[in-house]
Amino acid sequence: MQGVIGAFAELDSTVHAIEELRKQNFNDLSVFSPTPRHELEEVLAAKNSNVRRFALIGGLLGVSFGYWIPIWMSDYWPLVVGGKPIASWVPYTIIGFELMVLIGSLSTAFGMFALARLPRLTLTVGYDPRFSHGDFGIWVAAGPDRAPQAAELLRTHGALEVRNER
């Protein structure tokens, strides 16, 4: 993977650089920031995260499983009490609820890892420890023909350092 990485000290410079890169049709960008910033989210106009689907599916599976366990157990070893149902859904709602939360949460965490491609064994090309410290970074995927243009654009917008990476 070839491209250019630029490190910025200021948030507004980073935002302007991203805007300009997108105008110039550099669409394969990765932006690094020490903390989530809504300014970056807006300028990147990324789609909503699909973590919510994992949360929903996990929650539904959890609640179904949570009702099924006690109903199956009651049916397997019936405790017959006159006038009472063998499987009483009201107390089983507690187990259903707890397993909804348990499996829904674990599925949400799994969804985050899967979508963010975590865990990764090596940090990707271009990552710099300064991005967890205080600086912002823009990685632009560009072949040798367009890399100089991207590098120039990053410098124009105040990048502290620009490097070609492969």
């Binding site: 200021e10 507004d12 020490p34 989210e41 366990i69 070893w77 348990l102 829904g104 420890p129 410290h133």
Partner: protein
């Protein structure tokens, strides 16, 4: 003719110690570099830390050895005397579960409510939750005559073809507590990942760097990671919010589902949840106030944050106080003489000393928090937090022991006295809790680095005109640091 008051100097009235608000301002923290420098500095071990860790480990050894003795001799060495077969272990189980609740309240519920003051205290509170639930989980096992059979509570296919009874509140507890432990630990770890990445990038020791690199899972602060992370964090908070309310409700069902006087009441779930949050906030103060002082973090955990948490403490105290009064009112209104007799015995009879410790610590002393001056006095908050911890332990003592020792038949009425085994295991549980907390605070940041950075203004090449911006007013940092 009345004289007019002199005009106030422009904006001067806004510079004083402001009352705690939902937004969080840290005037003593200037930039990202300062955050990294000051928070990572707290990871250096000190002599006091070693001493405290040593004491905690000794207490764990004491508790562990006592448990071994109890397993050898049988649970008779604890203070169980019929009909009081729930004693210090169940009291302490409920106590520690309650302690955990404030952590989830601060980290999840206040996150959903966008309460800014949580930012600097939530990491401590969340760690407290995980370690408190780890401590609480031991107590039902301690209470078993054959603790090595504890896994029988978990439904799993077995050759005996036996399954636990899913209609039993004790079985609901298994699901609730295990879910709570798993979800809190997951929430805690996911929130830690960006901070572990900071540690990985700053660490110079190669072994520790490798450990942090493995724990950070290759996190690199990219926009994709943040996008999924913030969503996942939101959903986890949304799952944890009803969970925290359900867990102590389920714990309260252990009592409310029984016909015992003083237990069989529908107010137990909200009463227990409020009490749990109240006791947890007490423990947050007990930990955070010395921590901010000794780690010199007063400009992070500001007096405004403590003030806001103290208001929450006051609110939950009033809910708990109302629940106490409601119990008496319901006993009177019911016309049930067992219930009336029981409550009279609780407050004016055999257990009056314990009930009054509970009432004074949980209802009377927290009334001081109506005063802003007291809410902003860290010494008083710390002392009060100790009283709250004591009061909430005694609340569970009063609920459990007072009821079991004074049921329906007078010939069964009895007393209860914990033995040294109960005491040693109770003290050991504090050692166990603080041992984990002390180990945690030297390996991981006690204040969430990435969240503190989120509330700071990032560097801008062209800062916008902020002369009309309330947040941009220069506030003297010393005014937000408190008296310690």
């Amino acid at each position: 003719m009345a004289t007019m008051a002199p005009p106030r100097p422009d904006k001067e009235h806004l510079r004083g110690p402001n009352v705690a608000t939902a937004s969080n301002r840290l005037p003593g923290v200037k930039d990202y570099a300062q955050v990294d420098r000051e928070i990572l500095r707290t990871l250096q071990p000190t002599l006091v830390w070693f001493v405290l860790l040593g004491v905690s480990v000794l207490l764990v050894v004491l508790g562990g050895a006592t448990w071994a003795y109890q397993i050898y001799e049988g649970t008779g060495v604890a203070g169980y005397r019929g009909p009081v077969f729930w004693g210090v272990y169940i009291i302490t189980f409920v106590f520690w579960i309650g302690i955990g609740h404030a952590g989830t309240l601060i980290s999840a519920i206040l996150y959903l409510f966008r309460a800014g003051f949580r930012t600097t205290i939530y990491r401590v509170a969340e760690a407290m939750t995980v370690f408190a639930v780890m401590t609480a989980g031991i107590f039902p096992i301690l209470h078993l005559g054959r603790p090595w059979k504890f896994f029988w509570l978990i439904p799993y296919p077995n050759w005996r073809l036996l399954w636990p009874n899913p209609k039993s509140p004790l079985e609901w507890d298994v699901f609730a507590i295990l879910t709570y432990l798993t979800v809190s630990a997951t929430f805690f770890y996911i929130g830690l990942i960006p901070d572990i990445a900071v540690l990985r990038d700053r660490e110079t020791n190669p072994v520790r760097k490798r450990i942090f690199a493995a724990l950070a899972l290759g996190w690199r602060n990219s926009d994709t990671e943040w996008r999924h992370f913030t969503r996942a964090y939101l959903f986890l908070a949304a799952f944890a919010t009803p969970l925290v309310l359900s867990v102590h409700s389920v714990v309260s069902f252990d009592f409310a589902m029984a016909l015992t006087p003083g237990w069989h009441t529908t107010i137990f779930p909200p009463y227990f949840v409020a009490g749990a949050i109240f006791s947890g906030i007490g423990m947050v103060f007990t930990i955070v106030i010395p921590l901010r002082k000794f780690l010199k973090l007063q400009h992070y955990v500001t007096i405004n944050d403590l003030d806001a948490a103290a208001k929450l403490c006051l609110f939950t105290s009033t809910v708990v106080g109302l629940a106490y009064l409601t119990e008496f009112y319901v006993a009177w209104l019911s016309g049930n003489k067992f219930e009336q007799e029981f409550f009279w015995n609780r407050v004016f009879g055999q257990w009056a000393w314990a009930a009054w410790i509970m009432l004074i610590c949980n209802v009377v002393l927290p009334l001081s928090l109506w005063s802003q001056k007291m809410r902003r006095n860290t010494t008083w908050l710390f002392i009060l937090s100790i009283f709250i911890n004591i009061g909430m332990w005694f609340e569970r003592f009063v609920i459990i022991v007072a009821s079991l020792s004074h049921e329906f038949e007078p010939w069964k009425w009895s007393s209860y006295r914990p033995t040294w085994v109960d005491d040693a295991i109770l003290i050991g549980s504090f050692g166990w809790f603080f041992m984990w907390f002390l180990l945690f605070m030297r390996q991981f940041p006690v204040i969430a680095i990435s969240e503190v950075k989120e509330i700071l203004q990032p560097r801008m090449r062209h800062p916008h005109d902020s002369s009309h911006d309330l947040d941009a007013l220069t506030i003297d940092p010393t005014l937000t640091m408190g008296d310690d």
